[in-house]
Structures are given as C-alpha cells and as structure tokens.
C-alpha cells in the first residue's frame, strides 16, 4: 500500500499545497496543488512545506527517487507568488527571499537520489527553476504545456537559480534568448533545445517520469543534441572569448531594446556571466542580490502594478450587478472587410474560435480582407502556433458574403465600416431588418459617440461600442462603450467576448474620442505644434521613443493616417473646445494627399529600402517650417506628455473611465504608454500631483491656455492627493 501524507500532517486542518505519496517501489511523488487557486504558485507556505518534505525524504532511506508533479490537471507551476515579492520592503528582504528559494532548489539539485520533474501545463518562472534543479525533466506534448522564464517582463530576473542552471543546460545563447525575451516555449521547442529530456502524451507522463528516475539511478544522463550543439557548448564553456562575444552581443541588443529604461536585462546578463566565470556559488549570490535590488526598482514596482491591474480586470464583467451573465455567442457577423473588419474577423475566428460571416459590398474588398486573414493564419501555421487542421478550420470559420444571407440568426454583428454617421445608421437599420430581434449590434466607432449611432436603432438596448485598435490582431486593448440605454447583459456579453478574442477590454463612457483617442489627441497635436515651432520631426519622435514609447507621435500619425486624423480632430474640437483645436498642418497635408503610410508619403517616406525610416524632407517646405530649433529630449517629452496626463485626469474626473486602473491599462495597451511608468495615473502619482500641476501652469503661461491644469489636477495638487492609495 502506498502511503499518503501531507507535509504537515495533523498540524493544521487546512489542506496544504504539497502532498507526498510514497510508492511501494520507493519512489516519492510530490504533488503541488495550491488550494483555492486555478494555478499553482510558489509562495512562502509552499517553500516551507517543500523544505520540510525534503527534510523528511532525506532521512528516509527507503526512498530511492523523487518525482515532482502537479496535482492540478493541465498546469504545473505558473511561477512564484508575486504578492510575496511585492510585499518585500527592502532589497535585502527580497534578496533573502530569493536566497531561500535558491537553497531549496540547491537541495533538490544535490539530492542523493534522482529527482525528476513531470510537467504538464504552465511551467514558468519559479516553476521552471524548480524543474531545472531536478535531475531530469519530462513534459507532456499538450498544447497547454509552456516553459519559460518571464521574470524580465516584470522587471525582475529568475531569482531561483535560473540564470545559472539554464545556460548550463541549454547553452548560453538559447538561455539568454529565453530569459531576456520572457518567451514561453511549447513542448516541442523545449525538447529541441534540450530543456526537457522527454516529451510524451499526458496519460504516460508519470510512467515516463518513473523511467527517467530509473535512467538517473543507472548513472549519468548523456545530454546534448547534435555535434553542432556540442561544439557551440564547448566553445562557450571552455572559451572565454566566445562567451564574451555572445554576452557582448546580448548586452548590445538589450540596450537597444530597453533604451536604458529597464535595468533587469543588463543585471540578468551580469549574473549569467558571473556564474560562468566564477562558478555557480558566486553566480547564485549575484543572482539573489540582483533580484533583491531589481525588486525595489520603480520599474519592477510599476510592472507588477500593471500585472495585478490586468489580472484584476479579467474578472471585470463591465456591469455592477453580479447576477448578470454574458450570453454565449455562437455566430458573429462583421460588416466591412477593410483592415479593421479583417482584423476583427481574424481574432474572432482564430482566438475566439467563433464563426464569422464577413460582409462587404465589394467582391474585391472581400478578397483583400480574406487575404489579410489568411496571411495571418499562414503565419501562425508557420510558427507552429496552430495545427494544420486548426488552420484549415479557422479559414473556414470566416465565410465571405456580399448580401445578408446567413445573417438572420447571428448573435452579434460588429460593424467596421467607414467613420460616417449616415453609413453607420444604415448599418444599424440593415442589421435590425436582417437579423433576429436579440442580435447585438456593436459599432467599431473610433470617434462618433455611440448614442448618436444608436439613434437609428429600434432596439438601442442591443447597441454597444467596441473600439478596436489597429492592427487588431496585435493591439491588446479594446474599449467597450455602453451608452445610457445599453442593456447590462449586452455589456457583459461584449466584455466576455472581447476576452475570448484575446483582448484586454476596458469599459469607457460614451463621448467624443472615448478614452484612448481623447488622451492621445492633445499629445499628437502638441507634437505638431513643436514641429511648427521648428523642432525636427525625427528629433521629436526619437525623444519619445527613448522615453519609452514604441513609436514617436509622427510615426503614429502616419500609421493611423492623416485622413483619419482629419475626421476625428473636428469631432474632438467640437466636444472639448479650444484645447483640442486641430493643427492647420493636418489640413495642408490632406490637400497635398500626404495621408501617411497608406499613400506612401506622410511625415516619413514609405516604399523602397528604408521605408518609413527617413523623414520626407519636403514636409518642412509644405508646412513652411525650418527645423532649426534645438530642444532637449526632456523638454520635448514634457511639452507633449504632460497634456496626455492632464487629459487622462479629466477623463477620470468626468467618469469616462471608471477608475485609474482602467486608465493606466488603457494607455499602456492602447497607446504603448511606457509600461515601466505604470500608466499615466501611476506616473502622475510618482511625480506628485503638485509637480504635474505646476508644470502645466508653467506651460500655460509660457505656451498657451491649452495647458491649463484640469480642475481635478489643481484640486489634487492642493490637498495633496494621489490617484492610488500610497
């Protein structure tokens, strides 16, 4: 009879995460199953239990092998408990925490009998570090199985020996790539890299792990792939020069990617280097220290804040009443096969796996939409992100149509036609005429207030706004707009559906520009003002990219398209008055047919070898500007960004967004607001509202009234108050 025990039998009535099964064959199975959680995480309690279990197993001479596995189906260990890291008050405390983890993993690595990790599902962060400490790893070939060290995405580094064991197992280049990008490997990739020793179907996972215990018992495991891998491994280990070259390259790349805004990658590389040159003991020491210091950096704090914000938002149904249930959507219609319509169809068919009836009036429009969708499916197929069959199914989920055939019983229709009220009204009427009464009509409006669109509806309670960002398949944010009469059930359905599409939805109140475009507008406007004052286009873009934005404002204008800007700007001007007055440059560019990327010319020149890389110098002549003005990066950032912050504060004050959290996530996911700053509200908090207010006041007197501090900013500066509890 196998014996079942928990780590602390009798000590507590609460079920513990780790349980031990001692099998008749002398193998100890340790199963982790964190109570009350959907995923296993390594927290204080788990580490203490593990430590006690190891004590117990070290003493037990009947034990001749150990297997670590999960007690939850389809997930191994998703990582360390981030709350535990966040709770650390000092670098020393966080370092000590890492040290404790390292010590447990060291004990596993040094165990006298073989220890094997049997992995099914997510094996990330601390979970992978645990697996790395084991003597062998086997994983399932399940689609859920993912292995990775995503710590860097939280501004941290693997603090449980990952920086030491990973390069030793899979080689320096692969290890650095894995740790610096935070990418999550599928089982096949993990096997190819040698990260796991075996990859099997789930039903024989345990059996295979037992076999690996036996293999380990028999002696050393011969690892390594082909001769090429062996050769590189030798070159890097035995050859400090080769190693230095790889590390130097990694540093350069990290520097280019982070623009000096994120300290974690450099520290990570440093720890790897220490370990390789001075041995694992020294490496672990450096790792624990770096982990502690990184955990205290404002960057890590803000990235962790964002992580918690997005996790919390996953539970947001968008409505106050907890009894409101989202409807299941079986079939969806999309009107308009342009870039937006095609993108929406793609995420619906591929991510949400819901059939799409894609309608357009132009056969050629449908053709280019289908091409767009299929190219992206091909891409996923090439990356082996989906199987050949799933790709085929996804293709067939989108059926093109030129009429309303197949529309009667649709559950949701998303219109993605041109931003024109008349046209949107026609869509509302046509959908109401051609579909059943309970169909949800979603408008992908980017600036037209939803209430005005809903005016044409006989059943306005079924009308909702879904504001997607372009390119839809890449931009994670979705603004969900309910107007006053939208039914709560419709809102909850839209929120749930957005998540199924892989989006992070935020609820925003109906109104011109909603949230993201509204805070973006004064920022973009100001960039053009700076240009008119004589600051060079690439100077401005570079300053903001160095600050942490993915692209500069002019590049963004070109991407969005000057014609779109010209449509949106007057709507905002009308709604918000003088501070949103459109810049005259836009009008002149429109006349000159410089629409941005789509027309090949905007602020930058497109086409050819250096497409989009060089400013089209003739723009200065067109706008009668000579780019002579020298302006420091900081000044450029300050002039433009402060307006975005000010407008964000207004949005919160006016209830356009429901809470600062939504505003932060919206700006980061919708605009690419520098994540390490946590979002506009976190950023204002960290600068202090008084500082924000005085900067605005200063520009108000020196530049113009558009800088007038929002009433809420002034009020909060006086009190003083923060957006988040300090």
């Amino acid at each position: 009879m196998a014996r079942q025990e928990t780590a602390a039998q009798g000590e507590s009535t609460r079920r513990e995460a780790l349980s031990l099964e001692l099998r008749d064959d002398g193998i100890a199975c340790i199963r982790i199953d964190c109570p009350g959680q959907s995923q296993n995480t390594l927290g204080r309690a788990e580490m203490d239990q593990a430590s006690r279990l190891l004590d117990r197993l070290e003493r037990d001479e009947s034990v001749n092998g150990i297997i670590f596995m999960s007690g939850k189906a389809g997930t191994f260990i998703a990582g360390a408990d981030i709350h535990m890291i966040e709770a650390c008050k000092s670098a020393a405390e966080a370092s000590a925490l890492a040290g404790e983890g390292q010590a447990i993993f060291q004990r596993i690595a040094g165990f006298a009998v073989p220890v094997v990790a049997a992995i099914d599902g997510a094996c990330l962060g601390g979970g992978l570090e645990l697996a790395l400490a084991c003597h062998a790893r086997v994983c399932t070939d399940s689609d859920q199985t993912r292995l990775g060290q995503p710590e860097v995405q939280l501004g941290l580094l693997p603090g449980g020996g990952g920086t030491q064991r990973l390069p030793r197992l899979i080689g320096l280049p692969a290890a650095l790539d894995l740790m610096l990008t935070g990418k999550r490997l599928r089982s096949a990739q993990a096997q190819r890299l040698g990260l796991v020793d075996d990859r099997v179907p789930e039903p024989i996972l345990l059996e295979t792990a037992l076999q690996w215990v036996a293999i380990c018992q028999r002696g050393r495991i011969r690892r390594g792939g082909g001769w090429l891998q062996e050769l590189t491994a030798w070159a890097l280990r035995g050859n400090p020069l080769g190693r230095a070259a790889v590390l130097k390259q990694a540093r350069k790349q990290a520097e280019a990617r982070t623009k000096g805004n994120y300290p974690a990658p450099a520290r990570l590389i440093e720890c790897v280097e220490r370990g390789l040159s001075e041995g694992i003991e020294q490496g672990l020491k450096a790792e624990a220290q770096a982990f502690g210091e990184l955990a205290m950096t404002p960057q890590a704090r803000q990235l962790i804040n964002l992580y918690f914000a997005t996790s919390a938002m996953k539970k947001d149904t968008g409505v106050a009443d907890p009894d409101v249930e989202p409807r299941a959507l079986r079939r969806v219609g999309v009107l308009g096969a342009g870039l937006m319509g095609a993108g929406i169809s793609f995420v619906t068919a591929v991510r949400a796996k819901v059939p799409v009836r894609l309608k357009d009036v132009e056969p050629n429009g449908l053709a280019s939409g289908l091409k767009y969708i299929n190219e992206r499916i091909d891409q996923r197929l090439r990356r082996q992100a989906i199987s050949r069959f799933e790709a085929e199914r996804a293709r067939h989920r989108v059926t093109p149509t030129l009429d309303f055939s197949g529309y009667r019983g649709l559950d949701l229709v998303i219109e993605a036609v041109f931003e024109d009220l008349e046209l949107k009204h026609r869509m509302v009427r046509e959908v109401e005429a051609n579909c059943n009464a309970d169909v949800i009509f979603a408008s992908n409006t980017s600036s037209l207030p939803l209430a005005r669109i809903a005016q044409a509806a006989e059943r306005p309670q079924n009308v909702i706004g879904l504001h997607y960002f372009s390119p839809v398949e890449r931009m994670p944010l979705l603004e969900v707009i309910a107007h006053e009469r939208t039914a709560p059930e419709v809102t909850a359905t839209a929120m749930a559906f957005a998540r199924a599409q892989g989006k992070t939805p935020i609820m925003v109140r109906d109104g011109a520009g909603f949230y993201v475009n509204r805070i973006l507008a004064p920022y973009l406007n100001e960039a053009v003002h700076l240009l008119e004052e004589g600051v060079a286009i690439d100077r401005i873009d570079q300053a903001l990219v160095r600050f942490g934005f993915p692209v500069g404002p002019f590049k963004l204008l070109d991407e969005v398209g000057i014609d779109i800007i010209a449509k949106v700007a007057p709507v905002l001007h009308e709604a918000f008055g003088e501070r949103m007055r459109p810049v005259s440059a836009i009008e002149r560019m429109l006349e000159a047919d410089r629409l941005g990327k789509k027309s090949g010319r905007g602020f930058y020149r497109y086409g050819g070898k250096r497409s989009g890389k060089e400013v089209d110098q003739s723009i200065y002549r067109l706008l009668a500007v000579s780019a002579q003005q020298e302006m420091a990066d900081a000044a450029i950032v300050e002039r433009t960004l402060i307006l975005m912050l000010n407008e964000a504060a207004r949005c919160l004050d006016e209830g356009v967004i429901r809470q600062a959290r939504d505003g932060d996530v919206g700006a980061v996911f919708g605009i690419g607001f520098p994540p390490f700053l946590g979002g506009p509200f976190r950023y204002m908090d960290s600068r202090g509202l008084d500082a924000v207010a005085s900067t605005l006041a200063g520009f108000e007197s020196s530049v113009g009234s558009r800088y007038a501090p929002a009433p809420v900013v002034s009020a909060m500066a006086r009190e003083p108050r923060r957006f988040y509890p300090g």
Binding site: R331, P355, R357, P363, N364, L366, A367, S368, L370, K371, N374, F389, E392, R393, H396, R397, T399, P400, T401, L402, S405, G406, R408, G409
Partner: protein, 430 residues
C-alpha cells in the same frame, strides 16, 4: 423507389461553387477543399444547426488517394458535428445523383431524418501515377534486403515504363474514352456536325441568359480563390457570344478525319462542387424550412458499355417516370446531362421511337417526344462544364429552382455515366 403514401423527401437547400474550366480558378484546390468550401457556405447560409445533419454522403470521381472517404473529410473540415456519419460514393458522372439517392433512401427508410449530399471533382489537382511496372519494381525493391536484390527489379524496365501516367477519361474495362463513345454515337445514329453545333450554341445561349437574368445568383456561391483570393461567381466556361460560325471552325477532337465531335460541342474538363440538404418533409415543416422542392422518384440502370455506352438516360427515364406515376408529356421540365451534344441528341432521337421502346426497353409505349420548350431550359453541361461528381447536384437544385420560378410542377433530371450507367430523378414543386 416508388413513392406512394410514404412521406415526401424535401430538398431544403442547395448550393454549388461556380464551375471552372480545368487549370483556371481552382488550380490549387483539391476535391476535399472544394467540397468543404461549398458545404461550409451552404450550412452557413441556411443557418442550419450542424447537429441536424445526421449523415453526409459525398462523392468524387477522380479520387484523391490520400482522402478516399471525402465525405468524412468534408464533415470534419466544414464545421459539421464530428459525430456526423459520413461515407463516399462514386457513380462516374452520376455521382451526386447517387449521393442524393442514398440520403433520400435513408430518410425514406427512417434511418435518418436529414442529411447532406454532394460531390466535388477537380481535373486540375490530380494524382499522376507511375506506370504499373515501375510501381511494381519500386515496391519489390522496398521489400528486398540486399543491394543487388534491390536493383534487380529495375532491370526489366523499359524507357516507356518511366513515363508518368495521367488519369484519362477512359473506361478501365472497355478502354474506350468518353470522346470515342461520343463519336461512335454520332456516327451510329447519324447525328450531324451541324445538329451538334446548334445544340451546343443553344446550351451556351441559355446558360448565359440564365446568368444575365440573375436566375443562378442564389444557387451559386461566390468563391474567393488563389493567393489573392480572387472573387469568382459565374461559371467561366459559358460563352454567351459564341456562334455557329465559331463552333464550325473547330477541328474534331477525337476522330480527326471523319469525326464531328469537337471541343465546342462537348462538355469540357471542369472543376467544382455542389451540395444539397435533404430532410424528411414533416421534419422540415416542424423546423420551419420552406423546401425548394421534393424528390418524387429515382432510378438507376446500366447498358452495354461497349456500344452506345452513353444511352443510359433512355433506359432509366421510363423507370423513374413509372415510379413517379407520370408520363413524359406531363412534365413541366426535362433536364438531361449534356456530356456530348451527340450523346444527348442520340438519346432524344429514340424517345419517341416505338421500335426502340419495344426492342430495347421492352415496353409497348415509347417514352415520348421531347418538347424542346421544356428541355434544358437554362442550358446544360456543354455550357456550364461538368465536374463529374458535382453535376447531379447542379441539375437537381437548378431544376427545382426553375420549377419554383414557373409556379411549380414536375421535372425529370437524367444523366448518362461512364461504364454504361444511367441515372434519373423525378422532382416536384408544389
């Protein structure tokens, strides 16, 4: 199958792809893909709960070797419930008649209440084979253990054994090509070149008119094909502008010296697919589907394949009519498959012939004189083209819809098929 008091079998929906000449629009699509395309669109249009479809019978004539049970592949790919039963049939050019009859029969037997029938063929994506001798040598070599033994089987090969074998539209046993049969029938029954060309012209004109007047828009899907997803809606073989002069210029395609059968008065090699959904009439009513029409009877028969191999329609038509309890002159429409103008005209020539009826059919009465006003009123396969396994579906749906436009009635659809086979169905709308 004779219909009496038993419940009628309703056709509640049908669709086909545009038909496209060999190596044109569907150059890159295999029959499974074509079949999936049309089935997926049909179900989406009908907004049919896929679970209602209890069985899928699908056909292909030029079978894809890696997917011999095309029906099952279509089920899995077109988003039907994976627990839907599926099998495949082949009956040469009458394949989708057979698929339809199988579903109809299963409904009549009470085996199922609803099913999907269809067929797909391509002449553009074909398995090109090795010669039998080369294939045999390769197989032997793969089983041999030593190098000399592995090489031995290749010694007997001749250079011509290395040539690839293209699939031919030719009977396996009689070794007659369809064109040769068409030519033989023209010669044996005195069908002149002029008659054939005139018939072909009529087919093109009527088919062109059918498109121009929008009659086919509802039964032919828009397909988007190739890398650029080029839209195609109309069948690309129809020549509305052809003339007797143009047809007369063409050289005989099979018997170059004495022949009369040309590329112009034969149906071309074509790619395409069709599908239809059949349901027990009472079930359709409960679910609120308005049937396109009903299948009243069907029959299949075979004739001597060595001579007059495409005379099947003349033999099978009286059986189907008898089972439907109808005479030829009572029919509102007659739709006969046009493999070759010569074949169609040869068949029709004998329908009023008492001697043919007595000696060949063993019947006292001839089938009857065909009223040309009711015959192939929207043209036929010479114009539309003929994806072997999809033509039956085209004819059934097209004829039902035409009956509806004419306010109802009954119709005969009939086709010849390679190997001396014939198929006929009587349809009704009312």
């Amino acid at each position: 199958m004779r219909s009496g008091a038993v419940e009628r079998i309703a056709v509640i929906g049908g669709l086909r792809t545009p038909f496209a000449r060999q190596l044109t629009a569907y150059r890159d699509l295999n029959p499974v893909q074509l079949g999936t395309l049309v089935t997926n669109e049909l179900l989406t249009r009908m907004e049919l709960d896929p679970k209602l479809i209890e069985r899928v019978v699908f056909g292909q004539v030029l079978a894809l070797p890696e997917a011999p049970n095309i029906a099952r592949e279509v089920v899995l790919r077109a988003g039907l419930d994976p627990t839907t039963d599926a099998y495949s049939v082949t009956r040469a050019c009458a394949t989708s008649f057979q698929a339809t009859a199988d579903i109809a029969q299963a409904i009549r037997l009470g085996d199922i209440e609803a099913g999907l029938a269809g067929g797909a063929d391509t002449t553009s994506v074909l398995p090109i084979r090795l010669s039998t001798r080369l294939a045999s040598a390769l197989l032997q070599a793969s089983k041999a253990k030593t190098l000399p033994k592995r090489l031995a089987p290749f010694r007997a090969l001749r250079p011509k054994d290395l040539m690839p074998r293209y699939p031919a539209v030719r009977d396996y046993t009689t070794e007659l090509s369809m064109g040769e049969i068409g030519e033989q029938m023209a010669q044996s029954h005195g069908i002149t070149r002029a008659q054939q060309d005139e018939f072909a012209l009529r087919s093109h004109r009527l088919a062109h008119q059918a498109w121009e007047t929008g009659k086919l828009d509802g039964e032919v899907m828009h397909a988007f094909v190739g890398e650029e997803h080029q839209p195609i809606h109309r069948d690309n073989n129809i020549r509305g502008d052809t003339s007797l002069e143009a047809l007369a210029k063409l050289k005989p395609a099979f018997d170059r010296r004495h022949g009369t059968v040309t590329a112009g008065n034969s149906t071309p090699l074509t790619d395409g697919a069709s599908a239809l959904v059949l349901m027990k009439d009472s079930r359709a009513r409960v679910l609120g589907y308005e049937p396109l029409g009903w299948i009243r009877s069907w029959a299949f028969a075979a004739v001597n394949p060595f001579h007059d191999a495409l005379m099947g329609p003349s033999y099978v038509t009286p059986i189907a009519l008898e089972r439907a309890g109808l005479r030829l002159e009572e029919l509102t429409l007659i739709d006969i498959h046009e493999a070759f103008a010569s074949q169609t005209l040869a068949n029709l020539k004998y329908w009023p012939d008492p001697k043919f009826a007595r000696e060949q059919l063993g019947r006292k009465e001839p089938i009857g004189e065909v009223d040309w006003e009711r015959l192939n009123v929207l043209g036929g396969s010479i114009a539309y083209g003929h994806p072997f396994a999809a033509t039956g579906g085209r004819m059934i749906v097209q004829t039902l819809r035409e009956l509806r436009r004419r306010g109802g009635g009954t119709a005969l659809v009939t086709a010849c098929a390679a190997g001396g086979l014939g198929a006929a169905m009587v349809l009704e709308v009312a």
